[in-house]
Amino acid sequence: MKEVYLDNAATTRPSDKAIATIHTVLEKDYGNPSSLHRMGQAAEKYMSRSRKQLADILMADPESIYFTSCATESTATALRGAAQRLRHRGKHILTSQGEHAATRENLKYLAAQGYEIETLEQDASGRILLEDLSSKLRPDTILVTCLHVNNETGCIQPVDQMGPLIHEKQKDCLFHVDAVQSFAKYPVFPKAWQIDLMSTSAHKINGPKGIGFLYMRRQLSLPPLLVGGGQERHFRSGTENVPFIAAFGEAAQEMWEAHETLTARMQTLKEETLERLQRELEAVTVNGPDVSEGAAHILNLRIEGVRSEVLLHALEDYGVYVSSGSACSSNKPGEKSPTLYALGCSAQAMDESVRISFGRYNTEADVEALVSAMKTVVPMLRRFVRK
């Protein structure tokens, strides 16, 4: 059975080049970049190559890239570091609704430390309102943090406009962006967009899991989360994960070089999926932004009368992999899916929502397989609804 992987917002299949790079570094160039000998130097070269590749995509300086173990670590470092650095200036932090757990949980931690967390208003598609941001910025606002592309609905926040707006009103306020779903897939230019801090991850762009970076504007300096051997210019101690760092650079470059064609292709696949599902099945609606507006790779659908978790397992039998977005074990609607909850979805609507997310390797045939499996499975599952 052919594997039809449509859960690329969760993770992606590593590219051949990423895998080959990891293999080479592990096998041959396994030196420690901190070592003074030739082996160390060889390892160091992979690091600087990757740093350059990643910085080029952002149109930023390699010195702004700090490797971390994942986006969660990047976000934790950014949020906690920013709050600590600016605590004497104020304790007011602004954020959007439907943030990723990495942001939510770290903000919860900061709230417990006495910081004031305020949420921005959004429109019906989930986009924050710039006027609201403007009116909520205060002299003691030290940080604004925002998810660029929402991982559940694909809603795109206007981070390009947020940076200038924030800094015009509060020049010392820091702006952090979670760019996990957008980096290398869509244009993100932190320097031009006045983003101070930005989190990314390799495994969403056909790189390996367990590696990410934090972009930090030059001249900015935050206290590190991890101290020790002083790697990454004393900002992130711990022996560098050279094979994954090298693969991250290669994967990002591959993705970025193809991003325009890829975006166009994923947009077509997305529109076609929606169009065909709505034609073949009844009561299929889009959660979040209109298909023409959201990120090309994410499609969030409500399929009425079918619990998404059951649907997901039924689709497995056809080799089709999608995401349910929420685990039905959780009873609090706000925890099932903060994004859909913020959009006003009912608990039942959340349980009936599936996320289909496209990637570099998806083709027309995958849409075909998905639609054909759904055509069989959905009517069958709809026969059995809770009495």
């Binding site: 978790e309 059951v310 649907l311 997901l312 397992h313 497995e316 039998d317 039905c328 059995f384 009495k387």
Partner: protein, 398 residues
């Protein structure tokens, strides 16, 4: 002088002529449980087994620790003691024993403790009786270690000296689980769900010497494969005590959907459980088992009221053991924690789909009504055949 572990077994010592069978089962279980700890030579003593530290064990304290841990998970053992051992030869004198006991005391105990020496003399060839030996040894210890005191009523340290085929010297007994060796009481099929109760029920019946197989009902796509993995992990954890378990994963979706479409919703769970019992019995027959084991606890949920249990039980021909029937949830949880199944049981994969659960299930079902409702399930016999036939069999705890 050698070292080893003295294993005390409880009930099995009183089983008359069957004792040899029980002892042999226990020895077999010990050898299996400690198979990674070298080739063991297990010696029988009266009411005891002795396991010398094998020659090839290079790190004796580590061997001792691992062996003691292993033995404390074997049913049929009431206590385990790390011992010093002296061979009994014709030349064995009291002085030799005293010397060994002193060496033991000097090695194990420092500071001003109160102590008592207890002696058991199963080997009557030795000229002194146990009282004489104990008091004389006490005197020798006091002489050598003046900071110690004797307290025969409530000593801090009780030094045991047992004269048997060999002489065993020890000061502490670690508790065993009790019960009977697995494999001495026959076979039973455990209805294993992903919950807290059924693994505990299985463990309790294995403790009485039963060999288990397990039956799990899988309703793909309504239950996730992770739920299945979870059940297998639970079986694995029970198998640490109960030995190898064959788990039958029964495909149950077809039957469940049929009940769902054809039977009154409030009776759904009872009918489902009646069918589960029938399937479990069929599997039990295949396995040459003679009983079913469930984790039912009276009144815990709608399907476990007496009226419900009465209906469920009415389809069974085999005895159904429900060892936690009279336990409160908290009591079951305590055992689950002790046997290390609790953390796995509370993983959130179970019963993800609620469509098969009635909003208001019957708590006082009548057998007649249930049987009447079941008449709608016209293809049930074939469906049961198929479910049994298509079960996936996974062996855990090899």
């Amino acid at each position: 002088m050698g070292k080893g572990i003295l294993v005390k077994y409880g009930e099995i010592a009183i089983k008359g002529n069957n004792r040899v069978l029980f002892e042999n089962a226990l020895i077999k279980n010990i050898k299996h449980a400690l198979r990674d700890l070298g080739k063991l030579w297990i010696e029988k003593e009266q009411g005891r087994l002795f396991i010398p530290v094998p020659q090839e064990a290079e790190n004796e304290p580590l061997w001792m620790q691992r062996a003691l841990e292993g033995l404390q998970r074997i049913f049929g053992i009431i206590g385990v003691c790390p011992v010093d051992v002296l061979e009994v030869e014709t030349s064995l004198t009291f002085d030799t024993i005293a010397e060994a006991v002193l060496a033991y005391v000097n090695r194990e105990y420092t500071g001003a403790l109160s102590f008592k020496v207890d002696c058991k003399r199963a080997n009557k060839k030795f000229p002194m009786n146990s009282m004489e030996i104990a008091s004389e040894l006490g005197a020798r210890i006091l002489e050598a270690r003046p900071e110690l005191t004797v307290d025969v009523h409530d000593p801090q340290v009780r030094i045991m000296v047992e004269l048997r085929n060999q002489v065993y010297i020890y000061g502490k007994t670690l508790p065993g689980l009790g019960g009977m060796p697995v494999g001495t009481a026959g076979r039973a099929a455990l209805l294993l769900s992903g919950g807290i109760d059924s693994p505990v029920a299985g463990w309790m019946m294995a403790k009485r010497g039963l060999t288990l197989c397990a039956v799990y009902f899988h309703a793909h796509p309504y239950t996730t494969d992770r739920a299945k993995e979870k059940v297998l992990e639970l079986a694995r954890r029970v198998s640490v005590y109960a030995g190898k378990i064959r788990v039958y994963v029964v495909p149950f979706t077809e039957i469940q959907l049929d009940i769902y479409e054809k039977c009154p919703h409030e009776q759904l769970t009872i009918i489902m459980r009646r069918i589960m019992m029938q399937i479990a019995e069929r599997i039990a027959e295949k396995e040459e088992a003679q009983a079913l084991v469930t984790g039912e606890s009276l009144g815990q949920v709608a399907s476990q009221t007496l009226a419900s249990l009465y209906c469920t039980n009415a389809v069974c021909h085999m005895p159904v053991f429900r060892p936690v029937i009279g336990f409160d949830k908290q009591e079951i949880i305590e055992i689950a924690k002790r046997i290390d199944t609790f953390e796995t049981s509370i993983l959130p994969y179970e019963d993800c789909c609620t469509i098969f659960v009635a909003k208001h299930p019957a708590t006082r079902p009548k057998l007649n009504d249930i049987q009447k409702s079941e008449e709608a399930l016209t293809s049930l016999p074939e469906q049961i055949d198929r479910a049994v036939e298509n079960s996936e069999i996974i062996t855990v705890g090899v």
